[in-house]
Structure formats: structure tokens, C-alpha cells
């Protein structure tokens, strides 16, 4: 393009990857690399590992490496020089299903003890340390190592128990994470059980209920705060408390407040005559509500957990909605006032349409985060009384039932569903809301 006009040459310079832009790329890589590496190591790699573990027969106990334990015994006694007694090491592989490879024993013999005949696998070094290379121990295998020792005068003069020094056992075992045996058992165990349908149902009721509750409360709070009054800043700060407080503080406060024996709120309800006896709010799956002679089952614990979720997270939606409200041009409302619009007309016809975008985005985002929530339910009910969501099920399977594989299988499902929701979110997210 040598015959191009000067201006065209300029653009050509910009578009060809020149020295400058290559330098810029290099700089950019250097600046982003640390972030990429740490995210790869702690987020992406574990994510892949979750998939890997979900296909492996691995239990919590498998994480503890199997080891060969040794018990040292002394049989007999040396009173005079040349007396012979027996040193015995009882060895056992503590694991019933895993071998230990390359087992080595190390101990030190007191001065003045001479082994009569040493096991061919052992040797005594000059510094009186006894080393035995015992090879592989099968699962549960036990072995006894007997060494007859003769006491010399040095030992009689200065007797020291052979058990004085500690036996050190070392050995290698296969890392259960790295073996290549796979199974479908985890998925069958995790999804085949009858309660799995309930878990799925509870998850969606909880997610939708918690999200909608937080959104509606947030909208009301924003409407309240979208006007000037004395103490507005203080009140706003107050409203953020449920979200700012650590989840443990918030959850335990609810638990203590609603405790059936010493909970203030429960006592208050009884005293006000609202209920006859204290209610175990977080421990009862369903109660029957009598309305007009009809008895309607009501999922109590689940509703309480949803109420907690709405209570704890409304401040977030409140902040977003308030920010959006304050950016609605005021002249629209002035024009409506001129036309004699009533307060509710202004709300329905002006405010709500302006807020629809942010509400939709918030719904999707809150939906994803509520779906991801683990701490809240775990601390409130431990996933009992009909409140077990998928995330709590991950914990339940992996750490309560000790089946890491099945837990990972549930985690895989959580991730797959999450990816679907995220896809919907990125598709639906309007650019201008810019979240």
C-alpha cells in the first residue's frame, strides 16, 4: 500500500500489529497473568476436579493416607551381661482396603544391645539406628518382627528401655484422587434416591420464593426511601444491617429468637394469643392451617428459611432499585402532576415501567445467587425439616454421609444448572442496565 494517501497510511499503521501494539499485548498479558493463574488454580482447576471426583469411588476416609502402625514390645529382661531378650515389633496396615508400599521402619537401639540374628531386611548402622525396608503391606496385613538381642556390660551399667526411642514408620500409598478407576455409582446414589425429587422441588421453591421476597421487600424499601425526610441516611444505614452482618450472626439471631423454649418471639406469640403453644419454626416440616374449616398443609420450616432469605437480601435489591429510581428524570413526574395524575397512577404508569429492566436483571441475578446459597439454610436448619436444597445436599452427601464422590455428583448438577441460568442471564441482560 505504498501509493495510499497519508491518512490511509495512518489507519494501516494502527491496524497492523506493530511494535507498539505487540508491546501493549505483552504488557497486558503480564498484568493479567497473575489473576488468570490464581483463578485457574483455585476456581477452574477445582471445578474440573469436581467432575473428576464425581466419577470416582472415593469416600472421606480415603483422604487419610493408610499407614502401617508399629507397636514395640520387650519380652524378657537382662540382669547380667550376655543375657538375651526379645525385641518385638508388631506391625499392621491400618487400612482394610488399601496397600501401603515401600514400608520402612526406623528405630534406635540403646547402647550395649547386640542383635543376635538380624532379619535380612534390616540393618543396624554404626550410630545404633535400626532400619528395615519391609516392602509392600497388603490391606490389613500384619506382621511381627522379632529380634533377639544380647545385652553387653555397657547396657547393664546403663540400662535403658528399648521402648525409649520412638519407632518411625514410613510408607507410600496411592493417592486415591489420582487412580484411574471410575464408577457411575455416585450419580446413581445421588440422584436415584427417592428424596432427590423433594430436594429438587425444595431448591426451586426456595430459590424463587427467596428471590421474589427479597425483590418485593427491596422495592417497598426503595419506595419508602425515595423521598427526603429527616434521618433518611440513618434509616438507610439501618436497612442495610441484615446484609452487612455476618451470616452466622444473622442466622443464629433468628434461631435464638424463634427458639421454642427460650425464644422471645415465640413467647411473645403465645402471650399475644396468636398461637396456643410455642412453635418450633425451624424444626417442623409442615403444619396444618385451619381456614374456614379447611385444613391446609403449610411447609413451615421452608417458609421460615425463605423469609430469612428475603430478609437478609432485600437490602441489595433495595440499593439497586433506589439507585435506578433516583435516575428517573423528575420532569416526567412534573408533567404527570400537571396532568393531575394520582399517586398510584404515577407509580403504575411511570415508575414501574422505568424499573422493569432493573427488576428483571435483579431477579435473574438474585435467582442465581439464591440458588447458590448454602450457608443460610445450613446454619438455620442444617437442611432438615424439608429444607434440603441441592447445595445442602452436596454437603450432606460429601461430609455427613462421608461420600465425597456422591457429593461431587450433586455439585456437578448444581454447576450444570447454574451454567444454564447464567446463559439465560447473559442472553436476557439488557446492555443499558450494565450489571
Amino acid at each position: 500500500m505504498t501509493h495510499a494517501s497519508p491518512s490511509m497510511r495512518d489507519t494501516a499503521v494502527v491496524h497492523r500489529p506493530g511494535r507498539l501494539s505487540r508491546r501493549e499485548s505483552r504488557l497486558a498479558f503480564g498484568m493479567t497473568l497473575p489473576s488468570i493463574l490464581i483463578v485457574m488454580a483455585i476456581v477452574l482447576f477445582p471445578l474440573l476436579t469436581t467432575f473428576w471426583i464425581s466419577a470416582k469411588p472415593i469416600e472421606l476416609a480415603d483422604l487419610r493416607a493408610p499407614e502401617v502402625r508399629a507397636r514395640e514390645q520387650v519380652k524378657g529382661e537382662a540382669v547380667t551381661a550376655d543375657d538375651v531378650f526379645l525385641l518385638r515389633y508388631k506391625l499392621r496396615n491400618s487400612s482394610r482396603d488399601k496397600p501401603v508400599l515401600d514400608v520402612r521402619l526406623e528405630d534406635s537401639l540403646p547402647a550395649g544391645l547386640v542383635p543376635l540374628e538380624l532379619d535380612p531386611r534390616c540393618e543396624l548402622a554404626a550410630d545404633r539406628s535400626l532400619r528395615c525396608a519391609l516392602g509392600e503391606f497388603e490391606p490389613g496385613q500384619s506382621e511381627t518382627l522379632n529380634i533377639d538381642v544380647r545385652a553387653e556390660q555397657a547396657f547393664i551399667d546403663n540400662p535403658e528401655s528399648a521402648k525409649h526411642s520412638e519407632v518411625v514408620m514410613t510408607g507410600r500409598s496411592l493417592n486415591p484422587l489420582l487412580t484411574l478407576d471410575f464408577t457411575r455409582e455416585n450419580f446413581i446414589k445421588a440422584f436415584g434416591v427417592r428424596e432427590f425429587g423433594t430436594v429438587l422441588w425444595v431448591t426451586f421453591v426456595y430459590t424463587i420464593g427467596g428471590t421474589a421476597g427479597a425483590l418485593v421487600l427491596g422495592l417497598f424499601a426503595a419506595l419508602l426511601l425515595n423521598q427526603t425526610f429527616r434521618g433518611r441516611a440513618v434509616f438507610r444505614g439501618f436497612l442495610l444491617f441484615p446484609f452487612v452482618a455476618p451470616v452466622i450472626a444473622a442466622a443464629f439471631t433468628w434461631v435464638v429468637m424463634l427458639d421454642p423454649f427460650s425464644g422471645s418471639l415465640n413467647t411473645l406469640l403465645v402471650q399475644m394469643g396468636a398461637v396456643e403453644a410455642p412453635i418450633n419454626f425451624f424444626g417442623v416440616r409442615t403444619i396444618q392451617i385451619q381456614i374456614f374449616g379447611l385444613s391446609i398443609p403449610f411447609p413451615l420450616a421452608l417458609s421460615m428459611v425463605i423469609a430469612f432469605e428475603a430478609w437478609r437480601y432485600f437490602p441489595l435489591s433495595f440499593l439497586f432499585i433506589l439507585a435506578r429510581m433516583q435516575s428517573i428524570p423528575q420532569d416526567m413526574y412534573e408533567a404527570a402532576d400537571m396532568d393531575g395524575a394520582s399517586p398510584f397512577q404515577k407509580f403504575w404508569a411511570l415508575s414501574l415501567p422505568q424499573l422493569a429492566g432493573i427488576m428483571a436483571v435483579l431477579f435473574l441475578l438474585r435467582f442465581i445467587w439464591t440458588f447458590n446459597k448454602f450457608d443460610d439454610i445450613f446454619l438455620l436448619t442444617g437442611g432438615n425439616a424439608g429444607t434440603r436444597t441441592l447445595t445442602v445436599q452436596v454437603y450432606e452427601q460429601a461430609f455427613a454421609l462421608n461420600n465425597l464422590g456422591a457429593g461431587a455428583a450433586v455439585a456437578v448438577l448444581v454447576f450444570v444448572l447454574l451454567a444454564l441460568f447464567a446463559l439465560v442471564y447473559f442472553r436476557a441482560m439488557p446492555e443499558e442496565e450494565g450489571l
Binding site: 476456581v43 439471631t253 422471645s264 398510584f344 447464567a422
Partner: protein, 423 residues
Amino acid sequence: MTATRAPRASMFDRPAGTLALAGVNGLLWGLVVSILIGAGLALVTGLALRPQLGTFALAGLAGAAVHAGLRADALGWRSPQSLAPLAAILLVSLVLSGLQPFNLGIGEAPLAWLASLLITVLALHWVILASQHPIRFGRMNRFRREQALMLSLRAFGFVFFGVIVVLPLYVLVMTSLKTQQALLANPLDLWPDFDQGLMTPLRSYIELFRDFDFGRYMWNSALISVATVVITLLFAVPGSYAVSRLSFPGRLTMSRSILMIYLVPAIVLVIPLYAIFAKLGLRDNLWGLLVVYPATTLPVALYMLQGYFRGVPRELEEAGLMDGCSRLRVIWSITLPLSVPALASVSLYVFMIAWNEFLFAFMFLDDPKMFTLSRGVVSLDSSEVPRQHLMAGAVVSTVPIVIIFLWAERFMVQGLTSGGVKG
């Protein structure tokens, strides 16, 4: 529903309709106010107060009807006419309840009897005056009606949000100052007893710091949180600057995947991290948390900062480049000083996440020497530890974050709105 249509007359605008509307308003407020005051006083005094709901509903109705019937324009709080609804409320609540509006005889607790009655009556009167402010007897229209409803709803909103925030806060703090026996004896009596000196209510706190090593937990939490902030910023500042300003292949992919990674929940990562950390000996070790926390806060920090860096005027940086500064120099002396508010927001937000974090601390820490506050408080949740210790622990873990919040509310709110996609 167009805003241009002239307000239409409705049955509620006729005098009888106005009275009926006001009556319903007063009735509902009678219920709300008496329950609120009854419950509130019960929680402060521990007395068995129980409002006679029917009485107060009718008292509210009477007061509101009298108020609406006065035909006065904008009846003020101090105007002598406003005494009429007040008198109506007082009279009805006394007479209909047989002088026991809260099921409490005047002889049993005269002070509480008087206080509960007076506060309820005055509050009811005030809220009726405030919410029925737009009501003009015989001159109603849709606008005024809706305005009155709006005021009523607004007042209810303040009551509602006040209660749902203040009640748990009150229970949290007050329970921590009681003893287990006192709580079981009367769960309503949350007022601290000073019978053995001014320090008695604080005994849970003293025991937490003396016997439960909470000083160490606090130190651990502070250490981890501050270190997480520092590490996160060290990684996120250059990373987000590059994504928002520099052009390089893969930039778009990176900027899109940040939010995506941000959405991956901790519970999906916890099993492999647990397994790997157990193998590497990083469990029961603050170093483990120091690796995990920055990695989980990094995406949100990148996300918040890249949005902010985009907003910094490019011209300022270009001027610096023209003057011969290197890119890093430009970042250091032009972009970063301009971004101090954003850095403050990100820092506070990350600090809050790290301080409040529960799951990883719970899964990784078994040794009480290594506990963070979250983990320490959870360890108090057992039947052997009295409940007030658990609440005191919760207060101890809440106070620092609340202090920071109050001290830097502006940045904190900024952080919540720009990073609050998480939570």
C-alpha cells in the same frame, strides 16, 4: 390508565364513603399500633402485656371517624380541634377494655399500665393525623384518597422495616447480656439486670475473651481479611486495568468470563479444595484460607474495577503517554490517584466478604488456634455452651463490620451497588 384522564368521582368520595374509609384506616392502625406497643413494651419490661385488640381497633376507628368528620383543613398536631380524636381514642380504649387495655390491672403495675396506654393512644392519634392529612370531608377525590392511602402505607412501611431490622438486632444484643436461667425463666424479659454491678451483663463477653480465646479469633479474622484485601488488590488492579484499557487478543473473552467465574458457588469448589488441601497439609492452616479467599474475591474485584477504570477519562492517560511516561507510570501516577474512591469501595467490599465468610473457614479449620470469628462462633453452637455466649460471639463478629460500615458508609454502599451482584 392514562394520567390525563380527569379524576372520576367514586362512592368513596361521598361523606359516608369518606367516613368508612377513614374508619377502616383507623381500625387497622388500632391493631397495628397496639400490637406493636404491647410487644415492644413486653420485650423491654418482661411484663405480660397483651393488648385487647378489639378495643384498640374500635378506638382507632372512633378516632379516625371523628378526625374525618371534623371538616377541618389540614388539622395540625397542635390545633385544639385535634384533641377531639385524641379524646375519642382515649375514651374508647379505657371504657371498652374495662380499664385494662393491655389485660393488666392498674394495681398490678401502675407505671406500665399508664405508659402502655399513653404511648399507644398518642401513637395512634399521631398516625391517624399523619395518614389522614389529605382527607377533606365532603371534598374528596381520587387524588386525595390515594394520597391518604399512600401516607398510610408509607407509615406502615416505616413500622414494618423498623420492626424487621430492629427486633433481631435488639434480641441479638440483649440476649448476649442475659443468663441462660433468666432467659428460660422469662424469655420476654430481655432487659439486662445490673443486680451485681454494672459489669454483670458483660460476663458473657468477658468469658468469651478469657476462656474461649476470642481475642485470637478476632486477630485471625482481621489478619486474613486485611491480607485478602491486599492480595486481591495486588492482582486485580493490573488485571482489571489491562482488561479495560489495553488491547490484546482474548480481551473480550476475559472480560466476559470474569462475571461467569464470579457466579461459580463456593459449594461446588469445596469438595476438591478440601481433598486437595487435606493432601497438601493446607487444612487447619491460615495459609489455605489466604489462598482461597483472594481467589474467590478476585473475580468481583476485577469486575468492579474494570467498570471503574473504563470511566476514567482516556484523555488524561493519553496526555501522560504523550509526555513520555510509560504505561505503568501512567497507571501509578494518573489512573490510581483518580481511582481512590473505587479502590476504597472494592477494599471494603472484599474485606466484608472475607470477614463474613463461613463455608471455607468451617470446612478447613479444625484447630481452635486457627479459628476465624465465623468458625469460632459456630463452635459455640452446642448444647454445652449457654446461648448468651453464642449471641455474644455473634455480636463480637458483627461489631467490627458495622463500625467500618458506619465509618465509611458512602464507600460501602458504593461497593454494595457495584459489586452487589454477589451475595
